[in-house]
């Protein structure tokens, strides 16, 4: 028998229950400032350093940019799935998903910034650097995207074939297109949500469900090509059909971890009481568990097929990582799969704020390492973590985190007037 709804709507939607303290906004400003300083120091170190340092800065900032982008993309994609399947349990959590994906532009700006920085690094001293750059076996140059380096691609037969796609104008057009398309999608969902909050009209819920079905297709295509452009093309000889699925899995698992952390913290500080219960945490825990397994499944599938087929142009990507970043190559399957898998197996762990919060933080940290492992080994000259990596990765990540805290602090924590609000309030797991 279902439990009678003994909640009181007025108490759930009371101002002190649906707003955070002002200190969160200040902490957010602080974190944003720290992130901006980190990123700025990384850029300055790039300008003042040699070619190797310049390349290091670009690689590190690109890792940070992709991390800052992965949370919003994961939240946007997963929200659309939940809209499309008409999920009722989730509607009171929706606001935080919206907060996360509304900040997609931070990661995009950082990617554009890295692209611009590469332009600056290579347009002036680029030619000179390339001349005496030939001495190194690893061909160090201040490029992140080596296919943009004419001295690198000169005489490369494979590049001639891929030039139709991998050329500078088309790359810039695509970059702008992703930004515009994601921006339009985010603006649509935020606009519909605002309309519902203001008017109480149930129609936006229907609109968002319908739009999500088409939006998911557009999302799949755009994120796939963004992953090709911003991650896979760093080694443009390499290709993997699993890569975009990995990108999706990693985005969703990181977004779910971040959102679990947000809800655990809100509960810990006594906010959104009655609206976000252990039942919702339990569901988030189940999803986090599921997508952790999905991430492992996809990552292993990608590795396994390439390992089995043993075609040189595919295996070199893994060879590089296994040979030069051995510790990280073993740490990822252990820490991104085995540890959270075992920790989230017991049901009490998925319902307890402490344990779920711990696993969420754990996954966010390991997600950073995962993105690092994808991008950073491409710079073969430096095979250990340096201060520039630290600053370049944490800079964009902290800017995103700070902006997110400010956004959460600036609006109500739960949406009003959702037609399925009762379903969410009385939601219960029976398993």
């Amino acid at each position: 028998m279902s439990v009678a709804p003994h909640f009181e709507l007025e108490r759930v939607f009371a101002k002190e229950n649906t707003h955070t303290g002002a200190s969160l906004a200040r902490m957010g400003q602080g974190l944003l400032l720290i992130g901006a300083i980190f990123a700025a120091i990384a850029v300055v170190m790039g300008f003042s350093g040699d070619v190797e340092r310049k390349a290091l800065t670009l690689h590190a900032l690109q890792v940070g940019a992709i991390v800052a982008l992965s949370f919003p993309l994961g939240a946007l994609g997963f929200s659309m799935i939940l809209h499309a399947v008409n999920a009722g349990w989730w509607v009171l959590l929706r606001k935080q998903f919206e907060n996360v994906f509304s900040l997609f532009w931070i990661g995009c700006l950082f990617v554009a910034g890295v692209f611009a920085l590469q332009w600056i690094f290579t347009s002036g001293g680029g030619a000179a650097a390339a001349e005496h750059g030939a001495e190194a076996a690893h061909h160090t140059s201040a490029y992140l995207w080596h296919w943009m380096d004419p001295t690198y691609t000169a005489g490369d037969h494979l590049y001639e074939h891929k030039k139709v796609f991998l050329n500078l104008p088309f790359f810039v057009i695509r970059m702008v297109a992703y930004f515009v398309i994601w921006g339009a999608m985010v603006a649509f969902f935020l606009g519909q949500a605002r309309r519902q909050e203001e008017s109480g009209d149930p129609q936006p819920t229907v609109n968002m469900g319908r739009a999500s079905c088409i939006g998911l297709v557009i999302f799949a295509v755009t994120t796939a090509f963004a992953a090709y452009d911003w991650m896979m093309s760093l080694d443009y000889h390499w290709f993997s059909t699993m890569f975009t699925v990995w990108f999706f899995a990693s985005n969703v698992v990181s977004a779910l971890a971040l959102l679990s952390l947000i809800f655990v913290l809100l509960k810990t500080f006594g906010r959104a009481q009655g609206a976000i219960t252990n039942e919702h945490l339990h569901d988030l825990g189940k999803l986090l568990f599921g997508f952790t397994v999905f991430w492992a499944y996809i990552s292993f599938s990608q590795y396994f097929l390439i390992w089995y087929a043993n075609i040189p142009e595919e295996t070199m990507w893994f060879n590089l990582r296994r040979a030069e970043w051995t510790w990280l190559s073993w740490a990822l399957p252990t820490c991104h799969f085995i540890v959270p898998f075992l920790l989230l197996i017991p049901k009490p762990a998925r319902r307890s704020g402490m344990m779920l919060g711990f696993v969420a933080v754990w996954i966010i940290v390991v997600h950073l390492l995962d993105v690092f492992w994808q991008i950073r080994p491409q710079l073969r000259a430096v095979t250990h973590i340096t201060i520039v990596d630290f600053l370049g990765v944490l800079g964009p990540a902290c800017v995103f985190g700070g902006a997110l805290m400010m956004r959460i602090a600036s609006r109500p924590l739960i949406p009003k007037n959702d037609p399925r609000q009762d379903e969410a309030l009385t939601h219960k797991n029976y398993v």
Partner: protein, 197 residues
């Protein structure tokens, strides 16, 4: 009650059974039985009742441990099986090496390659895990069982249609034929019956 089964004379009391008219009555009755401290009792209904586990005070099922043990057995078995068949030659321990298997060269891969073992380890983990769940379920439910005194009871048959039944078995330490019957009656039962074995 089982030890009385082979004595032909004087059928012993097996349980007290109460029929309840609807879900809410049987649900609150279950909560009262839980609070009363009964241990050998059960609720029977034509369909699953959400939240009845908490109302009965049931502890989390131990089936998951059987399943976990089965899954680990499967993973270990798959690892040993493949290690023995594909990389048996690497076992070079005195006496044990008489059981060594084969060295199978697959496309020049290492004999003992965890990569190619993983899918089989996963599959056997799932297979043995489900065996563990099935066997554990049967064991914990003390199944298969051919007969139970309730099964021939006329009123009990309604639980496959529209009846809701709580039966307290005579094996329960708190069981008292008359007191338990009147207790169940006081919880709103429409019918209370002493079931003989």
């Amino acid at each position: 009650m089982a030890h009385h089964a082979h004595e032909p004379s004087a059928p012993a009391t097996a349980a007290v059974m109460a029929v309840f008219p609807d879900v809410s009555t049987v649900f609150s009755a279950a909560e009262r039985c839980r609070d009363e401290g009964f241990t050998h009792w059960d609720v029977f209904a034509p369909f699953p009742i959400h939240g009845i586990n908490e109302a009965m005070g049931l502890k989390p099922s131990k089936v998951s441990f059987c399943m976990g043990a089965g899954a680990l057995t499967g993973v270990a078995f798959a690892l040993l099986l493949q290690g023995w068949t594909a990389a048996g030659g690497i076992i070079n321990i005195p006496w044990l090496n008489q059981f060594s298997g084969y060295d199978i060269n697959t496309a020049g891969k290492p004999f003992f390659a965890w990569e190619q073992f993983t899918p089989i380890m996963f599959e056997l983990g799932v297979l043995f895990g489900s065996f563990g769940a099935l066997l554990g379920m049967l064991m914990l439910n003390k199944l298969p069982r051919h007969h139970h005194p309730l099964m021939t009871n006329e009123h009990f048959l309604s639980t496959s249609d529209d009846g809701f039944v709580i039966a307290v078995e005579a094996a329960d330490p708190k069981f008292d034929e008359r007191e338990t019957a009147s207790f169940l009656k006081s919880l709103g039962a429409t019918e209370v019956e002493v079931v003989k074995s």
